[in-house]
């Protein structure tokens, strides 16, 4: 059995950054407040890096997200592997040009002459009552943008393994650190290495219903599992891990087996990433489904402040249980 250490997601991220910087002198880490002089990041994810690797490779920046992303892109063009932090996912909106028009497209627009192997680390997710401008799950936008990979881990070991892969990847990656996943300690194998991008993880095998989820909603789905098991429903839980490019094979194989599928994500449901998965499952498995593919996501609304509203905004364990139960009863 692999030796493991219990840690939180930020410790796992911190470990991955340390290992990546140690292994490859081209890895750079920067963003607002991330150096030790500033306390090693608001979340502590970067603690110790500047002290260990020096203030040339690890830099706190001004509040200038376009300049941050530009620095990442330019350094990447010159052979570096920058890991840039955009403190919160909503702040990608002030540097979306750099990400979408440049980082994601430069390889293609240059006909393969240029590569932009950057990693964007960004925090988000409802649950902390940070309200309308600090908690959106925008993975659907990035998944719709050709040329950037979208990664959304759900537990500490996965944070470490997926972040390591993002850093090594020859293309731009955005990795989402979501509130609902961050304070649940998990066992991280001492030798936890990179986890391949684009490959889903079957968290639990089952035969009645497939749940496809990622990030914070894997956590909630896991909470739904014992309740569903008790109700006699055998659930196969697939953690997508990489939202784009997503692992169609694993999802389709699972739903081909169960005949039923519920997609659960934190993002707004309407025009959300779950629609792609639902639409694909329907296209590929038409006639083989026992029930319509269900999608659970946030209502069409900004993230609200009041706790009672924030709770209602997020897909609840109860809603997952209800949707899976309903689907299980069909067909």
């Amino acid at each position: 059995m692999r030796e493991t250490v219990k840690m939180h997601a930020f410790q796992a991220i911190n470990a991955a950054l340390h290992e990546a910087m140690e292994a490859d002198p081209k890895v750079l880490v920067f963003g607002e407040d991330i150096a030790d002089r500033e306390g090693g990041g608001v979340t502590g994810a970067t603690i110790g890096l500047s002290t260990k690797f020096g203030d040339m490779r690890v830099k706190s920046t001004p509040i200038s997200e376009q300049a941050i992303m530009g620095a990442a892109i330019g350094a990447a063009l010159a052979g570096y592997k920058p890991v840039a932090e955009i403190m919160l996912m909503n702040f990608t909106t002030v540097c979306m040009d750099m990400i979408f028009n440049h980082a994601a497209k430069l390889r293609f627009m240059s006909g393969g002459q240029s590569t932009v192997p950057i990693t964007i680390r960004t925090l988000t997710g409802a649950g902390w009552q940070t309200a309308g401008q600090h908690a959106d799950h925008l993975e659907g936008w990035f998944a719709h943008a050709a040329g950037i990979k979208v990664v959304a881990p759900s537990n500490p070991a996965e944070y470490k393994g997926l972040l390591l892969s993002c850093i090594q990847d020859p293309d731009p990656c955005i990795i989402i650190e979501s509130a609902g996943t961050l304070f649940i300690p998990g066992d991280v194998p001492v030798d936890q290495g990179p986890i391949p991008l684009g490959v889903a993880r079957v968290v639990q095998e089952g035969t009645d219903v497939t749940i496809v989820s990622w990030s914070s909603m894997v956590v909630r789905s896991l909470q739904a599992l014992p309740i569903l098991a008790e109700a006699g429903i055998s659930v196969e839980l697939v953690d997508l891990r990489t939202v784009s490019p997503w692992d169609r094979e694993t999802v389709l194989a699972s739903v081909a087996k169960t005949g039923r599928c519920v997609v659960v994500h934190e993002a707004v449901r309407s025009f959300g990433p779950g629609a792609e998965i639902a639409a694909t499952v329907n296209e590929e498995l038409f006639g083989q489904l026992k029930a319509p593919v269900r999608r659970l996501g946030a209502p069409y609304s900004p993230v609200p402040f009041a706790k009672v509203l924030e709770d209602a905004f997020l897909v609840s364990v109860d809603e997952i249980v209800a949707a899976v139960t309903e689907v299980a009863g069909q067909g």
Binding site: E32, E65, F91, V94, T130, S301, P304, L309
Partner: protein
């Protein structure tokens, strides 16, 4: 203020008015912190303790028709502007009687009746919107003034630049008020900002720019008087850099490791509130009794607001479907 003042030297009445606003800010801040400590309020809180003079001096020169756009660290700006405390408290408690029905919370408090138009959680984003309000004043042929509050860190983001350029070009009646407290989250001024005085940036927009002691009510009043008069007279925008200090770090609970004990102690020893009080008494603008009573009255008002806020109902979850658009979203 009913009539516009016509002197850059504050009268006794104005001085006491400034003091009253400051005490209202300070009592409100203190009471919020106590409520958070006691678990009565749950919210991210960005105290502006220490920065009371700036909006207090400015607000004595404004009417309800004049507008402000402020930031997450902006409750002092709102209180100075005259926002009523009851709906403010209900809002930060996430209740239905809040200015925003509990949906916006402390980072998005607004109250158009008293001219509090926008509170943003995005660094720099108060400025472009303040321009629009100023443009509307110009279009209306009114003498309304628009104030944009922001921090020193915000002077490094693109929106600052675009806003000052447009305001100067269009001669908009806006005052850009930079509350320079020396830190952006945990980053010291000089590690994020490449110029010794932010006011120098005004040169790049053909705009007057001044650095003011933001803790000195006389200096603040005189600078605000000049800038606001200029704006009202159709002569265009001004950049005011107001030097101050935030006593309680970036967000409540902040460990302040990124500053020296000495500088913090020195700043607190120079607390503008007792200093101003002493000078008001020394110069005979008010009696000790008067000012003490003022404090007591205000504490009563704050206590009442807190009681009101905490007694208010929680919003119904139907609120998620309301105010997304004018027309309620279907269930």
């Amino acid at each position: 203020m009913a009539e516009h003042s016509n002197s850059p030297v504050p009268s006794t009445e104005t001085l006491v008015d400034i003091y009253r606003r400051m005490i209202r800010i300070e009592r409100n801040d203190d009471t919020i912190r106590t409520a958070i400590r006691r678990g009565k309020l749950v919210m991210p809180y960005y105290s502006a303790r220490g920065q009371e003079v700036i909006p207090s001096a400015i607000s004595t020169l404004l009417t309800n028709d004049d507008t402000i756009c402020t930031i997450y660290r902006g409750i002092h700006d709102m209180v100075a502007k005259g926002m009523p405390l009851r709906p403010l408290w209900a809002e930060i408690a996430g209740r239905v009687d809040g200015t925003c029905k509990g949906k916006g919370g402390p980072m998005h408090l607004t109250h158009p009746e008293t001219g509090v138009m926008v509170t943003t959680g995005i660094v720099g984003s108060s400025m472009p919107i303040a321009n629009g309000l100023a443009w509307a004043a110009q279009l209306d042929g009114s003498k309304r003034v628009s104030i944009a509050y922001f921090g020193d860190g915000a002077s490094n983001i693109g929106a600052f630049h675009e806003s000052l350029n447009l305001a100067s070009l269009w001669k908009l009646p806006v005052v850009f008020v930079c509350q320079n407290n020396g830190f952006a989250e945990h980053t010291r001024y000089e590690n994020g900002t490449s110029v010794d005085f932010i006011s120098k940036r005004a040169i790049g927009y053909g705009m007057p720019g001044y650095t003011v002691d933001g803790n000195d009510p006389w200096a603040m009043y005189a600078a605000a008087y000049e800038a606001i008069t200029r704006a009202r007279d159709g002569e265009g925008p001004t950049l005011l850099e107001c030097k101050t200090f935030r006593f309680l770090g970036h967000v409540l609970g902040d460990d302040d490791k990124y500053m020296t004990k000495e500088e913090k102690a020195a700043a607190i020893a120079d607390d503008p509130l007792p200093k101003f009080r002493a000078r008001l008494l020394a110069e005979g603008h008010a009696t000790d009794e008067q000012l003490t009573k003022l404090g007591t009255d205000i504490q009563a008002e704050v206590d009442d607001a807190m009681a009101f806020g905490l007694a208010s109902e929680y919003p119904s979850v139907d609120e998620l479907r309301r105010d997304v658009f004018e027309k309620e979203i279907a269930a």
